[in-house]
Subunit: 543 residues, 2 copies
């Protein structure tokens, strides 16, 4: 209809003889026609893209179609129709409304629907029993009052946090069923039979939905949550590494690549930052799912939510680190380059630890006891040294200096490695590694107190004002370094939460063989499934 | 039923003569009884709390009850029932499902429901027309195939981003109606009449809902979005000020107060961080609402979402700033105290600017041209000076120095103020103030280049290794200062977005009288309504 409207206008203008406007209208018409012609192509392209992003969507669509056809048979096949009658339509309705993308969401809605219907039915019969004893007019008033009171009370209950979280849909169904039964009981006598038949067909509908979602290519909300946690850890790992690489990037290479790496940083932490509502919905749905592992009683979905919160806080630090790259005041590249080696190493080690955590969650095993490796410890010490020895590094002879320091570090590393081997690779050495960080922290504190003693010597030196300029120039770099050290501190919290998750979820013990494979070939090439996109559809498209 | 279960167990154990277990069961029973006794009290307390948090919830509940009673009258009153018949139940159903907390959500669902029903009806009649020409068996097959195909296709379409965003509920209703009509057309002959009656009653239901949500105590999603934006700005303002105050807090005052201030910081930015999904839902619902202001064509809800994104990024910086307070490595309080004055002033100015922005949005007027006051500019310069003059400040004579600097700053401030008055207070001076920041930035860059020249002089000075220790100690403070400067840079972006919002939404011009009132008495005492809590109920409890 809308398509022909411009043509009608064209004719009108024609009579007025306005050629310019005629031309314009023709152009407008052509554009519209082109858009209409390209609409099927656009649809087809979008369809292909949506399917390619996650093939499970196609399977889900076919499952819904199949379920609908199955329940339609109740109505279409004569013998079945005789048994059930026109109430078969309620089965169709139930399937449309209850069947969701994941098993957890379907179970949550199905059970809520069942519970709501049962409760509403009971209450409605109670009300009917009371109302039946009175006259027709009083009965109408009584029913009206009951509808008002129960309607207001149930709606108000939907604002209660606990009910809203778990039983919101159940309350809606309760309200729906209660009103339908109570109101129709006024005119229909055999309400009990109607309600019975309806419950029967709703049960059939729910049964078909549960069968479809639990047994045929099931999608588990728990799996989605699990996978999204792994992807988040890997995203943060990539982000940190890309961030530090870009900070110490040579200007010689073109701008294009730099902005591409900026995209990579953003992509890495973006999924983490806005994950709260998705995580919570997935955990809620997962809590309705039956366990599908034989090791533990229940999967600790709340622990995944908690880990998600810790990862978000880690993400905020990465955002601040990224902010250092984009800030107006920049430390000159010549200064930055001096700290390239230790900073890059710290970032690489943090990134490695995150990927190890991701792998441990993916394979449902405890993480490697070498998760906080000596490398990280050394890299941090080197960074500390580099910052402290900054004036020396500004000398022309910094190359030798650096080489010597590296040699020293290498020697220390060799020594540590030997100590490590003597200790053996056991779970107890996780503690050793964790405590290495603590040691380092306490060391810093003691260093600070030593510095406080030296302050007495400072007055005559601090007269030299020029050193302060160096400080001012190094300010943004100091922020960068400080935030990098902060990520190490936050990594500690992340490791704690992952360990806790492993303990509660009875992850299998770490085997050394696994570790070497995974530690060397860093796996993070799994295709990124757009978890949240599927999920949102089953959240907001709730019923 | 469950209440009596423990008693039953008690009797069983009694026969076995196990006194200890009997005691335990009794205790268990008592605890259960106590819980049951306290359940009504708990319910009552929760009800009161939920109502006190937001009285609109009570009004909404009463509105739902009233609407339900109204549509029930269609069934209960004899003359009305004669006209409409048992299809009146569809009106009840529509009210339960469509009436939402805000007008936007109700409109969105109501129009989606109408559109879905109409489209589905048309398609179903087309299919019926084709199927009617064939035999009974083929017809059943045809209907089954149509149900499968349309069911799969519609479910698949729900994954399309554009459809998911705006028409998800419409597609569900389309599917529901299509299946109901197509399937029942197999056995019922006058489907057209049924569909017509049903559409009629659904329209009545939608009408009641729209009447209730648009005319009687309406809650606008747009208002919620507007208010939540104001609250977010104020929260950030409080957060920043509390953060800097805590950083320069004297240790003498007890720990208790410090943790309380920590809570305040957290509360300030918490609402901002997780606002993405709430903001987007509110904006979507608001886009369905009719405009209720006479100035502009449409309210720019997408601009609010954009501003929300910018505020989230501002929030990440505040989180990082808060992280500086909690980090393991701390700059000694004696060092920090030296920078207390400029840092506190920068924070106060940023906070003041944020509150001015909040007030400008609240009163729907452009923000004051003095939003980026010279005070901020001066405070930044002082901070810069303080950092540069740090070695001098370590001398005993820092008090005089500080006083002299303050005198200088005061003199400068007076001078600037005069310049300002000469310029007059016009919109163009906003630009001047914004460019003041830019000037400062370019100045910094030029200072950096001057420093690069001076580096040639440095070698002999940098041999003195001890200055590097000072740097190391100041590292965390440098991060703090750098992040504080970062907030100023981000503030610039926030101001741009608010200005853009004011321009698109045709905010009224800024009047000088308003400003002085608000600038002096910083208003941020409005009770905090838990927007997201109401909202979530109408998002997840969608239908």
């Amino acid at each position: 209809m809308l398509v022909f409207l411009p043509r009608f206008h064209v004719e009108k203008k024609d009579q007025m003889g306005d050629n310019h406007q005629k031309m314009q209208m023709k152009k407008h018409l052509q554009v519209t026609m082109n858009k209409i012609k390209q609409f099927p192509i656009l649809c087809w392209k979008t369809s292909k893209k949506v399917g390619a992003e996650d093939p499970r969507r196609i399977i889900h669509s076919l499952k819904v179609g199949l379920s609908l056809t199955l329940v339609s048979l109740l109505y279409l096949i004569q013998p079945l129709f005789k048994g059930i009658g026109s109430n078969a339509l309620w089965a169709v309705m139930t399937v449309v409304v209850v069947l969701e993308f994941t098993a957890g969401a379907t179970l949550c809605k199905g059970l809520n629907r069942g519970l709501g219907t049962l409760l509403a039915g009971s209450l409605a019969f109670f009300i009917e029993g009371v109302a039946n004893r009175t006259g027709k007019v009083f009965r109408a008033c009584f029913i009206g009052a009951a509808v008002f009171l129960i309607g207001s009370a149930a709606t108000y209950m939907r604002f209660f946090p606990k009910i809203k979280k778990n039983y919101d849909y159940g309350v809606v169904i309760f309200l729906l069923t209660f009103n339908l039964i109570t109101v129709s009981s006024y005119r229909v006598d055999n309400v009990l039979k109607i309600a019975h038949d309806r419950l029967y067909t709703i049960a059939i509908g729910c049964g078909v939905c549960l069968l479809m979602s639990l047994l045929i290519f099931p999608n588990w909300s728990g799996e989605e949550l699990h996978n999204s946690t792994v992807l988040k850890l890997e995203g943060l790992a990539k982000s940190i590494e890309a961030c530090v690489n870009e900070y110490f990037f040579d200007t010689e290479i073109d701008e294009n690549k730099e902005s591409c790496s900026g995209d990579q940083i953003y992509k890495g932490y973006k999924a983490v930052l806005d994950s709260k509502s998705t995580d919570e919905t997935l955990a809620l749905q997962a809590s309705w799912e039956p366990r599908h592992s034989s090791h533990c009683y229940r999967f600790p979905w709340q622990q995944y939510v908690k880990l998600g919160g810790v990862l978000r806080h880690f993400g905020y630090t990465v955002v601040a680190l990224h902010g250092c790259l984009q800030t107006e005041i920049q430390t000159p590249r010549s200064v930055r380059i001096l700290f390239k080696d230790p900073c890059t190493r710290v970032a690489r080690e943090v990134s490695k630890a995150l990927i190890e955590l991701a792998n441990s969650i993916r394979n449902r095993r405890h993480c490697s006891p070498e998760i906080l490796s000596d490398h990280l410890h050394e890299a941090l010490q080197d960074l500390n040294k580099a910052i402290k020895s900054q004036p020396r590094l500004f000398l022309g002879s910094n190359k030798n200096q650096a080489r010597n320091m590296l040699a020293l570090a290498a020697a220390q590393a060799g020594q540590k490695q030997n100590e490590k081997r003597q200790l053996g690779v056991s779970l107890s050495s996780v503690k050793t590694d964790s405590s290495a960080l603590m040691e380092w922290k306490t060391k810093r504190v003691s260093e600070q107190s030593r510095e406080a003693e030296r302050k007495v010597l400072r007055p005559q030196l601090s007269k030299i004002a020029i050193t302060s300029l160096e400080f001012s120039e190094a300010l943004p770099f100091a922020a960068f370094a400080s935030l990098l050290v902060e990520t190490v501190a936050k990594l500690d919290i992340v490791i704690d939460e992952v360990e806790e998750l492993g303990r509660i979820a009875c992850f299998k013990e770490f085997k050394n063989g696994d570790d070497e494979e995974e530690h060397i070939t860093v796996k993070c090439e799994k295709p990124k499934i757009s978890v949240s996109q599927n999920q949102l559809s089953s959240v907001s498209g709730a019923e």
